[in-house]
């Protein structure tokens, strides 16, 4: 029987932990940026954000747009490029404990994605709904659109793509095959950008009103429904986590029949030994 001590050094055992500190750091950064952006929007949207042709609008809003788009593109490309560059080229020799840790990292990334999804799809989107009902706009680049379409959606896309590329480059089952649910969850946010183009073209051409439930907006709904495939992705992730969280040194069938009190409990870095059989 193999013990932990006999494992190859490259696969040295460490109990898997979710990357809580890094995750909270990323979340704190994201929440700070969203909050600061929202305060800026709240302060300037109705003062210098009403007339596209004014100098103030160009200064306070268009400048922000011209800065944020390349910054977000560079940041997204940089993170994805780094994940690809540092990909695991020996996935066939990946230790189960390390694989489990990477699943926790993936779940952490998906949780960040979930929070971005909420912020972008709810408060940021409905700021636009409220804005349209008290203004008559003269541009596609309104203060709420600049935050929603050219900041929120790109961040949303980046969050989805980062998690997808991480899974493709570090987790064997996602590297060998393509997860259709995961692909759909990523494709939805990505395809929102072309739909933004259609939406704005339609509003400048044949549908001036901004009723939120209007048919011109239903393309966004359809793309939002891509996230319904998150259930399939969750099943794929949980199925593998269940396999990886089986305890070494135990018989899976008998253990399942015994319940948790019948399991051996060992400390980390101790050799795992088979327990003697015990009659009921």
């Amino acid at each position: 029987m193999n013990t932990i001590d006999t494992l190859p050094s490259s696969n040295a055992y460490a109990a898997p932990r979710a990357p809580w500190a890094r995750m909270f750091l990323v979340l704190s950064g994201l929440l700070s940026v969203y909050t600061a952006y929202r305060i800026y929007q709240h302060t300037t949207a109705f003062t210098v954000g009403l007339d596209y042709f004014s100098e103030d609008f160009q200064k306070y809003w268009m400048t922000l747009l011209y800065i944020q788009l390349p910054v977000l593109f560079a940041l997204g490309a940089g993170i994805v490029g780094w994940i690809w560059h540092t990909r695991d080229r020996n996935l066939d020799r990946l230790a189960p404990a390390e694989e489990l840790r990477r699943y926790f990292v993936l779940l952490g990334q998906l949780m960040v994605f979930g929070i971005i999804a909420y912020l972008t799809a709810s408060p940021v989107t409905e700021a636009d709904a409220a804005w349209h009902q008290v203004t008559v706009r003269d541009t596609d680049f309104t203060p709420t659109h600049i935050m929603l379409f050219y900041f929120g959606i790109p961040v949303f896309i980046t969050g989805a793509v980062v998690a997808f590329v991480y899974a493709r480059t570090r987790l064997p089952q996602f590297a060998k095959r393509l997860s259709l649910p995961f692909a759909l969850v990523v494709a939805g946010p990505v395809m929102i950008m072309p739909n933004v183009g259609f939406n704005e073209w339609g509003h400048t051409f044949f549908y001036a009103e901004e009723l939120f439930a209007a048919p011109i907006h239903w393309g966004f709904v359809l793309l939002g429904w891509a996230t319904f495939a998150a259930g399939g992705l969750l099943v794929q992730i949980l199925s593998r986590i269940v396999e990886l969280t089986k305890v070494a040194g135990s018989h899976p069938v008998i253990e399942a029949m015994q319940g948790p009190e019948g399991k051996q409990v060992t400390r980390r870095n101790e050799s795992v030994k088979a327990e003697p059989a015990v009659a009921a």
């Binding site: 203004t135 997860s179 259930g231 099943v235 969280t245 015990v278 009921a280």
Partner: protein, 262 residues
């Protein structure tokens, strides 16, 4: 139940540390807790985001404004759009995890997201009064669906009775909140409701006519029969609607792997 352990050869009976991720039951427990701590907030955040987005773009104005909660479209559009996530994720949570929480949890998430957004966006940002933009209440509908699922353990019966009740009860459930806004008032010789009057006072620039009475056609002369008629019609439609979205949930929860896209 306890059983005798069979003394089989170790190579066949024991999971090795090279094959599995953990070495003890305590570590297994910690791993499960960590997975829960990651997955539960993820699900809640996704439900808040997806449901809010979906509801805003399909129901939107019917739920944003108190005067839009009319007797023709609001009780019909609302349950049809509101059933989608309870159907899709209700299937996932019940079929895969045996949790009868799909409807209650998704609607609770929508409610939370709606209150945050109405306060931050419609009240603080756009300056509408909260009693003009408060979100309707739907949690009771979710509880009915989930309780029926728990009791019947059948999507068929849940859809038949729960789906129907879901459509039927949107209006009565909200009536205690809505009634004060339906009190008649007279303005310049025309009879309006309080909600209509608020709509006149707070002009919404993106509504096609800027100001209008939301209920159109001969509806305003039809008396009391309109509301129950719409509610029953919505109930019948919603039975099939619930079953349809359960099927979408079945498709969405499939763990499908493919070799390549093209």
């Amino acid at each position: 139940m306890k059983v005798d352990k069979m003394p089989l050869p170790p190579a066949q009976t024991e999971l090795r540390a090279t094959e599995v991720g953990l070495t003890s039951a305590a570590e297994q427990h910690r791993a499960y807790v960590q997975a829960d701590l990651l997955i539960i907030p993820l699900i809640v955040m996704l439900f808040m985001g997806i449901f809010s987005f979906h509801f805003a773009l399909l129901v939107g104005d019917w739920d944003y404004w108190v005067d839009w909660r009319d007797r023709r479209w609001w009780p019909l559009v609302t349950p049809l759009a509101l059933t989608v996530l309870p159907g899709v994720f209700g299937y996932l949570l019940w079929e895969k995890l045996r949790l009868p929480l799909g409807a209650s949890l998704t609607i609770l998430c929508l409610t939370l997201a709606a209150w945050i957004s109405r306060y931050l966006n419609f009240h603080l940002f756009a300056d509408f009064p909260m009693n003009f933009v408060w979100p309707s209440t739907y949690i009771g509908l979710g509880l009915i669906i989930d309780c029926l699922l728990l009791l019947t353990r059948s999507f068929f019966w849940t859809g038949l009775f729960g789906g129907f009740a879901f459509g039927l009860l949107v209006y009565p459930l909200n009536w205690p909140l809505l009634a004060p806004f339906q009190v008649p008032v007279e303005l310049h010789g025309t009879m309006l409701t309080v909600a209509d009057l608020m709509g006149y006072e707070y002009i919404r620039t993106a509504i096609p006519e800027y100001v209008r009475i939301i209920e159109e056609s001969t509806l305003r002369t039809f008396g009391e029969a309109v509301t129950p008629l719409t509610a029953v019609f919505a109930g019948f439609l919603n039975i099939m609607n619930y079953w349809f979205w359960l099927w979408i949930g079945y498709l969405g929860s499939k763990a499908i792997w493919i070799r390549k896209i093209v």
